[in-house]
């Protein structure tokens, strides 16, 4: 019933532009996988390729064990929820939800208006099928709490209600997998969180395979078992949300995952000095230091202390800075700090509001520091350099 989705060396071009560049991906049965990336990265195209709505140039698509390269969309037994829901505006909610069942259970003539009814005069079979569809639609609407809407047209529904009807239409024929193309992007912020939770519940309840496209990393991280980060037609990294957050495979992923994003500092090597940072002495001389081009540090790994009082000794790097801007985010404060050294580079620090005796005004002089173990190191190509063996105390 619930199936895996496998993509093997999938490639697609628009003219000379590579939209999908040798994509390999496996979504296990019952897994919730998100495709996340900036707009234009190819994530929606990938979804449409799996649905069979777009053709591709090379590679293979498997749903379950079946290669579906040449299989038309309706025979792939997958459902898709579109960004704009794509509800049929001239049909009621009930008719919208019943459409996939009508299409699969009635013959070409039986399902047409007038002709079908005319044929129905001669057979009770059609009547039975229609009654069965009616029951299934009613039950599904009840379980999604949209029973009161069945007679309305999509134009009379709110965004959240449309979203639910679209889900119902997708669920009604129990597909092998669900494909969702930014289903929450048309909802307002509050509703988005509510529907997001409902989606998570739904996935737990029906245990089906979900492949979910979004540009919102929070959605991806909160909903998914695994997240695939895409950029420029490639999957940069696929892993659990914590893997992506704690050890991003490259600079792009590091910058993309996490809000506020990771502080990325370029290491322009001037001889043995690293722009005045006491970093060189701590990196093993025999490792190829030149390979490290950028360092990254998460905002929550920055420690702040008042100027003049040294930070605890396990903080390896301690720098002077001034508060450039302070943002109150409820439970936490985000500080934008300007380093005194290093040409006034800006760093973002995140501090739990509970830990602060009183918020710091902009202009305040502070000490900021971090532990070398918390650093993320990236080489010239932007790939992650395993941090721990490089660092010595």
């Amino acid at each position: 019933m619930t199936a895996s989705i496998k993509l093997h060396s999938l490639t697609k071009r628009y003219g000379s532009q590579l939209v999908l560049d040798n994509i390999n991906l496996e979504v296990h049965p019952g897994e919730f996988v998100s495709l996340v990336g900036p707009s234009g990265c190819g994530k929606s195209t990938l979804l449409r390729v799996i649905a069979g709505l777009t053709n591709f140039d090379a590679g293979e698509v498997f749903i379950g064990d079946r290669q579906v390269n040449e299989v038309p969309p309706k025979k792939r037994n997958i459902a898709m929820v579109f960004q704009n829901y794509a509800l049929y505006p001239h049909m009621t909610v009930a008719e919208n939800i019943a459409t996939p069942l009508l299409m699969s259970r009635l013959g070409l003539l039986q399902r047409q208006p007038f002709v079908g009814a005319l044929l129905g005069v001669f057979s009770t079979q059609r009547k039975n099928i229609l009654a069965q569809i009616q029951t299934e639609v009613t039950n599904l609407c009840a379980s999604l709490q949209i029973s009161n809407l069945v007679q309305r047209k999509p134009a009379q529904l709110s965004g959240g209600q449309r979203q639910r009807v679209a889900l119902a239409r997708a669920m009604v024929r129990h597909p092998d997998a669900f494909l969702m193309d930014e289903p929450l992007s048309n909802l307002d912020a509050k509703l988005r969180i509510q529907v997001r939770d409902e989606l998570a519940d739904l996935h737990q309840r029906i245990g089906s395979t979900f492949l979910y496209v979004t540009h919102d990393q929070t959605e991806a991280l909160t909903l998914s078992n695994r997240v695939a980060v895409m950029n420029q037609g490639q999957i940069l990294q696929i892993g659990t949300p914590s893997e992506l957050y704690e050890s991003p495979a490259n600079l792009t992923v590091a910058k993309f995952i996490g809000t506020p994003s990771m502080n990325i500092l370029p290491l322009a090597l001037e001889g043995a000095q690293v722009m005045g940072l006491p970093l060189t002495t701590r990196i093993k001389p025999d490792q190829s230091q030149l390979a490290i081009k950028h360092i990254g540090i998460r905002p929550e790994h920055l420690l702040m202390g008042s100027s003049g009082h040294a930070l605890p000794s396990e903080i390896d790097v301690q720098l002077e800075a001034t508060v450039h801007r302070a943002e109150h985010h409820g439970a936490e404060w985000i500080y934008i700090l300007k380093l005194t050294q290093w040409q006034g580079t800006l760093l973002t620090a995140r501090v739990s509001a509970q830990k602060m005796s009183k918020p710091l005004a902009s202009g305040t002089e502070v000490l900021v520091g971090w532990r070398l173990a918390d650093l993320h190191l990236f080489d010239q190509l932007g790939s992650r350099v395993s941090a721990s063996p490089l660092l010595i105390r």
């Binding site: 969309p73 309706k74 459902a79 579109f82 704009n84 794509a86 001239h90 049909m91 239409r169």
Partner: protein, 298 residues
């Protein structure tokens, strides 16, 4: 009390200002629309003839005369037959061509221009072409018919054939216009609906058309229906140029033209004009009512 007076005064001033501002538009409205119509209504109650020195009020006698007028009744029947032939064929042909052209990518604009040509061409000029094409002895159409063993048909002078022939010419002229309207309607159907339908299993041409295209074109179809109805109701130029009303081919507007401008019976022509306007009015009311009735979707 003083305040109240002041407010009253102000309201009065605003009232006067409002009327003053509405005056130019009202004047034009009366001069351009209401007065001519009133004039026609009054004239329809007289036996006025162009150039006559005096006229009599004849009440509704012009209308009762129309009911016994063989020519008028024939023109009435002809017009309705013409509408009945042109309306459905121009809608379905326009829709069919629009669907076929819509699927074209590169050649679409070429087809659009070709089908739209008859709309822009003047029928007076094209009438000579049709006269030649349909000529019983010289025309290629009859040459084709006789070459496959069918007797030549006098399309324009045979009373049996004349209205269907005029209908085909009307169709030729109208179909391109309807096609453009349907093309606009087709372009406004979101592609996502077809994609959703493809996943739902409705991806054959019949299902696509019946489930999505046809219902989504509802508002367009209604508009096309009413405008085509009015256009074909107003048929005049083909009759005036090709048949001059011979062989029993009079239509409403042509009968009206004959009475007014050939026989100068202005009173009678005015009565016929009112009959004609009555039908156009009904069509317009139907149109605005149906369009108000939300046949379109958000």
């Amino acid at each position: 009390m003083l305040k109240l007076n002041q407010a009253n005064h102000q309201a009065k001033n605003e009232n006067i200002l409002g009327w003053a501002l509405a005056l130019p538009a009202s004047f034009l409205l009366v001069m351009l629309y209401l007065l001519p119509i009133t004039w026609v209504i009054l004239m329809s109650l007289t036996n006025y003839e162009l150039g006559a020195i005096s006229f009599d009020w004849v009440g509704l006698r012009n209308f009762s005369k129309a009911l016994e007028d063989e020519v008028f009744l024939r023109s009435f029947r002809n017009t309705f037959l013409y509408v009945a032939l042109v309306l459905p064929s121009s809608i379905f042909l326009g829709l069919g061509i629009a669907i076929l052209i819509h699927a074209r990518k590169r050649t679409r604009s070429i087809y659009e221009v070709i089908y739209f040509l008859p709309v822009t061409s003047t029928l007076i000029a094209m009438a000579t072409v049709f006269q030649f094409l349909l000529h019983p002895k010289l025309g290629p159409v009859n040459y084709l018919l006789t070459s496959i063993g069918i007797e030549a048909i006098s399309f324009i002078s045979d009373p049996q054939w004349v209205i269907p022939t005029l209908s085909v010419i009307g169709l030729w002229q109208l179909v391109g216009f309807n096609m453009i309207l349907f093309l606009a309607g087709l372009s406004s159907i979101p592609e996502e609906l077809y994609e959703a339908a493809a996943l739902d299993g409705a991806n054959g041409p019949i299902d696509r058309f019946i489930r999505i295209t046809w219902p989504m074109l509802g508002p367009t179809t209604l508009f096309v229906m009413v405008t085509s109805c009015i256009t074909s109701f107003k048929v005049f130029d083909t009759v005036a140029t090709l048949t001059q009303g011979k062989s029993g081919s009079e239509v409403l507007l042509y009968a009206l033209y004959l009475e007014g401008f050939q026989y100068f019976k202005m009173g009678y022509a005015a009565a016929l004009t009112l009959v004609f306007l009555f039908f156009i009015l009904i069509l317009s009311i139907v149109q605005s009512r149906l369009i108000e009735k939300k046949v379109h979707y958000v």
